[in-house]
Amino acid sequence: MASLTRKARRREAYSMKLEIDSFSGYRIYPSKGKLFVRGDSKVFRFASSKNASLFLQRKNPRKIAWTVVYRKMHKKGITEEVAKKRSRKTVKHQRGIVGADLATIAARRNQTAAVRTQQRLAAITKAKTEKKEKEVKKAKPQRPVAASGPKVSKQQMKGGKAGR
């Protein structure tokens, strides 16, 4: 159902370009209405001859009760919208970010202090033992460096007769 309404909305948006009446604020559907271009090249659109006539009589749309401007000024028929706006609230929302999805974040948050210290201690001991092992390994290999392969003169490497 939602897709249907969206489709309908899209159809309206693409196929029809609605204009707004410059006097009354009414919508002007395609192939309707009159365009009036004043001497200062301002463009006015009128949905009906009534609007055009009132405009040319220099009537003020703010003083004519059925126009959109008047109704907006006197807050006619907009009670629902106001109520809707008030009900809107900011909602705090949790979600995962890069490298840490929501589950891990929640787990971290729910940890107690004791668990955390335990983990820290464990990590420290682990690191210490690893360090010790490394030192033991380092102490063992003390072989002399560069004692492999027969010695070759540079001249030979560059290519004597054998190279040809």
């Binding site: 192939s31 309707k32 009159k34 365009l35 009036f36 271009v37």
Partner: protein, 133 residues
């Protein structure tokens, strides 16, 4: 609705300011009334004064009072029906002067023109105009 003796504003930089219609060309259908996009013959009634300094420049005045020229109507006070069924009208009648080859006499247009001109084969004028409605 332009006919004999109608006066129109000239909105190009040819030098003419006000022109008077003396003939509508090849338009038997509308009983001799011209509308936007129609070619007419006009007499220049009022032109910008000719000065020696301006004569050498690009904006030289090309017409003087009493000249007979062709012109094309670009705005009318009378409602004109668009192909989509809507109507458009302007606050004044206006024209643009032409030479014998149906090209513009001026090089610029200083005012809004009707987009109906494009449909009638005056695309050049439409493209030169600062605003098209």
């Amino acid at each position: 609705m332009i006919g004999l003796k109608s006066t129109l504003n000239c909105i190009d930089n040819s030098g003419a300011l006000i022109v008077e219609c003396v003939n509508i060309l090849k338009n038997k259908v509308t009983n001799g009334w011209g509308s936007v996009g129609d070619e007419i013959v006009v007499v220049v009634q009022k032109a910008r004064p000719v000065s020696a300094a301006a004569q050498a420049s690009v904006n030289a005045v090309k017409v003087r009072r009493g000249d007979v020229r062709r012109a094309v109507i670009v705005r009318t006070r009378k409602l004109v029906r668009r192909p989509d069924g809507s109507y458009i009208r302007f606050d004044d009648n206006a024209a643009v002067l032409l030479n014998n080859k149906r090209e513009m006499l001026g090089t610029r247009i200083g005012g809004i023109v009707s987009s109906d001109l494009r449909l009638k084969g005056w695309g050049k004028i439409v493209s030169l105009a600062p605003r098209v409605v």
